[in-house]
Amino acid sequence: MFRTEEMDINMGPQHPSTHGVLRLKLTLEGEVISDIRPVIGYLHRGVEKLCEHRTYPMIEPLTDRLDYVAAISENLGYCGAVEKLMGVQVPPRAQYIRVILAELQRVASHLLWLGTHALDLGAMTVFFYTFRERELILDLFEAFCGARLTYNSMRIGGLYEDVPAGWFDRVRHFIDIFPSREKEYEDLLTVNRIFKGRTVGVGILKPEDGIALGVSGPTLRASGVNYDVRVAQPYSSYEQFQFDVPLGANGDTYDRYLVRMEEMRQSCRIIRQALERMPQGEVRAKVPKYIKPPAGEVYHVVESPRGEQGFYIVQVAGEMPYRMRFRAPSFVNLQALPTMCKGQMIADVVAVIGSIDIVLGDCDR
């Protein structure tokens, strides 16, 4: 008697909750999703091709623009890759400062994720609270390298220069106050019935699906897979620090939330250890003025806030790479979205996108 039909709906690329220019083609039965296809590429800038016409030091600012929410992780990964190719040993002090920067960046990135994720679920206030603390971190970065978003903070072989006077005290102050601030967010969300209703059991990713799809980072660890590049293949002297890798049990949106909240605490723990054991000495190894790595290939991975961030360089000769390739965690994690969203409701899509924590600059490159 009644004729029902599925409705196709375009979510994005100018939709408020797709976190940038992601476009989703949804097929809906009422409010239930029967099919979902992510369409990407709206932010493609051809960074990999651009790199083939830049000298090695000139590429680092380009890496800032990949995952602009966690630019320091990109810097760290890129510099690490070139250093591996050249066989340069980074001085211990530079390694420790890099760890502090990378972990602060992880906290800042997770804060941005938490604020926007909560905002997508309708909780407005958390967003302002997280930005209050993110601001403190950005101030630290600004004091360190002068920039607040695209830092270009490292150099091949170490750092441009040592940290400014009093910077470590400011970092210490931040990690002292941060746990109480994090409790404020948790008070608003962790035990909130509505928040749990929106996240528990929503967008479940099974561990075997996660591994098959190449998912990494907190998104994979929330499914209970213990894989953290910082532990599995330590870089920048991560093997010298004590920290736990938080794991989830069910792989749902709530677990991904809990994992990231715990990661922020662990990051503070790592920073505290780095501050206590900060070595003295140079912050930059001796590298030639014109960087011409020997011919060869190198693949280097770091644990960015979003997951496994890989850098693949093919060097043939000269000052420029022959081929550059970035393994973008957002790109790989995004392909798990249809698996997580089928059969859920339209409101769950924004919750799941938020919990994967994609950055389109990273995804499209």
Partner: protein
């Protein structure tokens, strides 16, 4: 004009005009208050560029909406698209007609003026009926926009509002049984003779009513129809300028109406606290109690801000102020307490209570995430409806046993 014409035509018309003129102004400033309170909760400053601390911001906003281009999507149904905001806003404003803001009439130019537009004996039924009408505007808006997001928003809205009408109605029945009337004035008078506000015996009814009412007005955490994270702006996605302003006006008018109904039905309307205890009669002139309280708390808060002592001085200042106010009231110092004008003091208590519930709305908005569509339906049908029916049965039994 003879006296009869004036009493039956001129005065009611004047009252209607005053209501229709004043309520949008109140709403404009309610919105400023909302932004300020949210700003305070969210550690930011809120508007402060237009006028002193943003006091002229609502006027600037209204002007902006007035001169903004009024667009209609090419594929929209023009007639319905234009009618939808009107269909929404008229019932919202019409509901104001049966809301009494004070108990005693007052004299003006030799005429007796009631502090309500009309006191009909089916006021509650009228309110239920008229508030359901507003849904049509939303459905029509979503349909006429010819946009998928609007349509989804409108469907959600109609499902939500129809579901929550049911517990809303049941929650009112308890009050009606206790008061033995559906007239707003009679209900408040029943609370006066009962000696306590109906929130006492009708606590369950109050919770059911208030939660359903928040859902009915589409506010956080039930703001699914306009869930910006999912549906962009729901049913009013395609609206701009004055047409959008009408939806906005309707939403905030509904908030005021709902807060007024809660106040009247459960919190004694214009009655002071403990309306039958003579020793507290000085509370009739509520401001002699509240002005010292607010002043003390504000001074304490300022000290706290300077000294960084949390909220310690604010509470101390508030307590001291309250004590001072009570002292002035009990001793009738300066003859302040006995100088109360009944209509004014009624309006004072009424607006104080309404403001409190409006504040609750803002507080919710600052605290809660949003429900999902199916969870919202679950809450309505699985919890609120059984609870409100239980409340009706319980109240009925109690009334029967006492009689």
């Amino acid at each position: 004009m003879d006296r009869d014409t004036i009493e039956h035509i001129v005065i009611p018309t004047g009252q209607v005009l005053v209501a229709v003129a004043i309520v949008p102004l109140i709403i404009a400033y309610l919105q400023l208050v909302e932004r300020k309170v949210l700003g305070f909760m969210q550690v930011r400053l809120a508007p402060r560029r237009v006028g002193w601390h943003g006091l002229l911001q609502p006027i600037a906003d209204a002007l902006k909406l007035l001169i903004k281009e009024d667009t209609t999507p090419a594929m929209a149904d023009r007639a319905l698209f234009t009618m939808a905001p009107i269909i929404t806003v008229i019932p919202a404003l019409a509901a104001l007609a049966v809301i009494p803001i004070a108990g005693q009439p007052f004299e003006l130019f030799g005429y007796t003026i009631n502090p309500w537009i009309s006191d009909i004996n089916v006021a509650l039924l009228f309110l239920l009926a008229i508030s359901s009408l507003g849904i049509y505007g939303i459905i029509v808006a979503g349909w006429a926009s010819n946009s998928k997001y609007s349509m989804l928003g409108a469907l959600r809205s109609s499902a939500q509002m129809i579901s929550y009408e049911v517990p809303l109605g049941f929650a009112l029945i308890g009050v009606m049984m206790l008061a033995g009337s559906a007239s707003m004035v009679k209900i408040v008078e029943a609370q006066k003779s009962a000696g306590w506000w109906f929130v006492g015996p009708q606590l369950l009814g109050f919770f059911c009513y208030f939660i359903s009412a928040v859902a009915e007005t589409n506010r956080v955490p039930f703001d699914l129809p306009e869930a910006e994270a999912e549906l962009v702006a729901g049913f009013h996605t395609e609206y701009s300028g004055m047409k959008f302003a009408f939806f906005f006006l309707a939403e905030y008018t509904n908030m005021i109406v709902v807060s007024s109904i809660v106040t009247i039905l459960f919190f004694g309307g214009w009655l002071r606290p403990f309306p039958n205890i003579e020793a507290l009669a000085w509370l009739e002139n509520g401001w002699i109690f509240l002005v010292p309280l607010v002043a003390g708390a504000s001074i304490g808060w300022l000290i706290d801000q300077r000294a960084g002592t949390g909220l310690r001085w604010m509470f101390a200042g508030g307590l001291a102020g309250a004590a001072a106010g009570a002292a002035i009231g009990v001793t009738d110092a300066f003859g302040l307490a006995s100088a109360a004008i009944p209509a004014l003091s009624g309006a004072f208590w009424f607006s104080l209570k309404v403001s409190f519930f409006l504040f609750m709305y803002i507080w919710f908005r600052g605290t809660y995430p949003r429900y999902r569509y199916d969870q919202l339906m679950g809450l309505g049908w699985k919890w609120l409806i059984p609870l409100s029916i239980l409340n009706v049965v319980g109240t009925g039994l109690a009334v029967l046993l006492r009689a």
